[in-house]
């Protein structure tokens, strides 16, 4: 450090640093210019295929399909990669950008619209026609969910799901509520029907007083009759859609890809008003208390006697230690029928895949009776192919749950299609915020009329 370094030298050094920095910048800048151009892919018939999925429970069944497929098609090999749902979509997006997207991947109905409109996934219409695939063999509604706004099909449906009530058998029998009673509950937005009676009776405060008994202390509840996961956002798939759906209300003016939302509808808002009223009555926890562990953990802790949840969670609930649960169908509503949101997952082909020919063979196989019966036999999802539905139901029944609670919606055609729209992420973000406010009583359900204008406005963008 004894070296004297005059100011001029230091300045010259820094100037040189700047010069070399600029040189590197120009180099990286030029390299960065290629961004934005997607590879067009090719129709290779053979080679290696990468297949992505997010549900680890389903990997063994699909691995079995892949092995069988490789045996039939020795020129094609399948590599299955699984990533958790929360990472899945970010990873998929970056892989599209980096031109390293999986050839085939499990797609969600709320996501594919964005990919289709950007030309990232293949339109399957011609392929379906060329190979004479009978689309009527799939459960009603599954194919409709995979037709984008442009009318083309962007995925081969692989499974479907509906919603039902999971309840604690022990708590129900302690309360003297039979499975028959749970299976025939009715609901209306005025007095809540027998659904509200059951919820009230299953609610117990810390002194052991039930929700419908004298002296019930709603500020100190031990077990809530009905659990709550979140405000449901714009879909309310497992929260309010099974109620609002019985009033004749629909999400949009069309089953899918409508031009207007119906959150300003009186029927919707009155269903929400009744639903959040359960919080005031002490039968359902305030929204603030629901941030934390999953619904299933709270069922396990007997904090809730009943919850509404989707078919994809059947195995999660079946495996819970220390509690005995069962399922019941959602209540019969205003129109004298039940209702449930209906959704379907599908396999999509990346437009950038080099082996789209092989990818189509694999997708075709995934939705074929062969693979679908393997999947049905694993008892993890309801397969999209109607013919193998009974096998899946039998497997599911081994959990001891009343599986009809889920299938009744398909049998009786009481399903409401999961709403598909442009700008779905943005719209759901706005709706989640608005519904959070309604559920936490900072705004009234009527405030959703204004929000409806905003979200409908986002459809044209």
């Amino acid at each position: 450090m004894t070296l004297t370094s005059p100011r001029t030298k230091r300045r010259r050094l820094s100037r040189r640093v700047v010069t070399s920095a600029l040189a590197i910048l120009t180099a990286t800048g030029l390299a960065g210019c290629t961004q934005g151009a997607m590879s067009e892919g090719a129709w290779g018939e053979t080679g290696d295929l990468t297949y992505w999925m997010w549900d680890s429970n389903q990997v063994p069944a699909y691995q079995a399909c892949a092995t069988a497929f490789e045996k039939k098609n020795p020129d094609i090999s399948i590599t299955i990669e699984q990533f958790g749902y929360d990472d899945y979509w970010n990873k998929l997006m970056t892989s599209f950008v980096a031109d390293s997207a999986p050839d085939v991947f499990v797609d969600h109905s709320s996501k594919y619209g964005d990919y289709a409109s950007r030309g990232l996934i293949e339109n399957l219409d011609e392929l379906v026609e060329k190979d004479n695939i009978d689309l009527d063999q799939y459960v009603n509604g599954t194919v409709d969910l995979w037709r984008a706004a442009d009318g083309h099909q962007y995925g081969m449906p692989k499974d479907w799901d509906t919603v039902a009530i999971f309840y604690n058998e022990e708590l129900a029998s302690e309360a003297g509520i039979s499975a028959e009673k749970l299976g025939s509950m009715t609901w209306n937005p005025e007095d809540g029907g027998t659904y509200e009676d059951v919820i009230a009776h299953l609610t117990v405060d810390k002194n052991g007083v039930r929700g419908d008994e004298e002296g019930f202390d709603k500020t100190r509840v031990e077990t809530y009759g009905l659990g709550l996961d979140d405000s449901g956002g714009g879909y309310g798939q497992v929260t309010w859609s099974m109620l609002a759906g019985t009033t004749g209300w629909t999400y949009m003016d069309e089953p899918t890809w409508g031009s207007e939302f119906n959150y300003d509808d009186e029927r919707f808002q009155s269903a929400i008003a009744w639903w959040r009223g359960l919080i005031e009555k002490g039968y359902m926890p305030p929204l603030s208390q629901t941030v934390g562990t999953a619904l299933s953990s709270k069922m396990q802790a007997e904090s809730y006697a009943m919850v509404t949840d989707g078919a994809w969670n059947i195995n999660t609930y079946a495996k819970l230690q220390g509690v005995k649960l069962n399922t019941a169908p959602t209540p019969i509503g205003v129109d004298g029928e039940r209702a449930s949101t209906f959704n379907s997952l599908a396999d999509s082909i990346s437009a950038s895949s080099k082996n789209k020919g092989a990818a189509w063979e694999w997708v075709k196989y995934l939705s074929s009776p062969e693979c679908q019966s393997t999947v049905a036999d694993a008892g993890v999802v309801f397969p999209s192919l109607s013919a193998v539905g009974d096998t899946a139901s039998e497997r599911f029944a081994e959990t001891g749950f009343n599986i009809e609670a889920f299938t009744t919606h398909v049998d009786d055609d009481t399903t409401i299609l999961f709403p598909l729209s442009e700008n779905a992420v943005e719209i759901n973000a706005l709706m989640t915020n608005a519904m959070d406010k309604v559920l936490s009583f900072s705004t009234e359900p009527s405030s959703l009329t204004e929000v409806n204008k905003t979200v409908t406005g986002l459809l044209d963008e």
Binding site: L13, I24, Q35, G292, T293, V425, A429, N433
Partner: protein, 316 residues
């Protein structure tokens, strides 16, 4: 390296440098410059590739409409105009400032107290290393463990509160509790590390100063205010700047617990940026929000360094 080169560079008669000696020295300095550059190059490359270039590109993107899949479209100041009218952004700014105030105040005071304690009271390496233990656990793990412990219905903390006769608190779910809770969780994780930084500063204060003070009859309290705090000022300033910048960038704790809810009560700026860019594919606008954050942080760091005279020490 410089000292190794030194003998060559030093002229034989320093008082009257000859012409050859001067050119010798110039050559030597040039060689030193190259050596220095060679040493700086790796980190410079990293800096340019991973920080400088992304920053420039981010600034450029903030003037565009960009969804990653198609080429950016120049929109001028549109994103910035939108930003000034964006209620969610201003809310996220308020939420972030609230977080930083709670986090930094508490963290700095506790860390200072902790550092003085481990400096003045104990010599045990074990105790000194225990305070950094929380920092060794990954952020996401810390957040998740606290998330479960603070759960309203089945969390151990609320069980404890109820056992003591109190009412359970919706730590992450209540709009007024959520940000303080997240600030406290992060304080718990970072306080030991901050204490360690301050502790390093404490060790630089000469022991004689304390001995002299004690001879004069000063007690520990007086010595803390008259010696420790003033002499620690440059280190404290640096620690404040670093922790505050880190604090403004709070993200992971929010991402794994509340995801910005309930009703935007924890939608901190960094999470809003992530949400805009990676969930809504609005990279242009997200970049504009990032640039705003960058400007705010630069101004804050500048003011802090000025106010605390971080580049001067009272030691000499």
């Amino acid at each position: 390296m410089a000292t190794v080169l030194l003998p060559e560079a030093t002229p034989s008669t320093p008082a009257q440098p000859t012409a050859s000696a001067r050119s010798n020295r110039r050559r030597a300095t040039r060689r030193q410059t190259w050596t220095a550059l060679a040493f700086i190059a790796p980190s410079l490359l990293g800096f340019v590739v991973f920080y400088f270039w992304p920053t420039l590109r981010g600034i450029y993107l903030s003037f565009t409409d960009f969804d990653v899949f198609t080429d950016p479209v120049w929109v001028g100041l549109d994103n910035y105009t939108r930003l000034f009218g964006d209620e969610t952004f201003w809310n996220s700014a308020r939420v972030t400032v609230q977080y930083v105030l709670i986090n930094i105040t508490l963290q700095t005071i506790l860390a200072l107290a902790l550092a003085v304690l481990i400096h003045r009271v104990t010599q045990s390496t074990f105790l000194r290393s225990v305070v950094v233990a929380p920092y060794l656990v990954a952020n996401v793990v810390v957040a998740l463990v606290w998330f479960w412990m603070l759960d309203y219905q089945i969390g151990i903390v609320n069980q404890g509160i109820e056992w003591l006769g109190g009412n359970a608190i919706a730590f992450f779910g209540d709009e007024s509790w959520a940000i303080p809770t997240i600030a406290l969780v992060n304080t718990w994780r970072h306080v030991g590390y901050t204490a360690l930084l301050i502790f390093a500063g404490l060790q630089m204060i000469p022991k004689e100063v304390y001995e002299a003070a004690r001879t004069e009859g000063a007690n520990e309290w007086k010595m803390f205010w008259k010696i420790t705090v003033p002499l620690l000022r440059p280190v404290l300033a640096l620690v404040l700047v670093i922790t505050m910048i880190g604090s403004f960038q709070v993200f992971d704790t929010v991402a794994v617990t509340t995801s910005g809810g309930p009703a935007d009560a924890t939608r901190v700026v960094q999470y809003y940026i992530f949400d805009l860019a990676f969930q809504r594919l609005d990279f242009g606008y997200a970049s504009a929000v990032s640039v705003m954050l960058l400007l705010v942080l630069a101004v804050i760091a500048f003011i802090q360094l000025r106010l605390t005279r971080a580049n001067e020490s009272d030691l000499n």
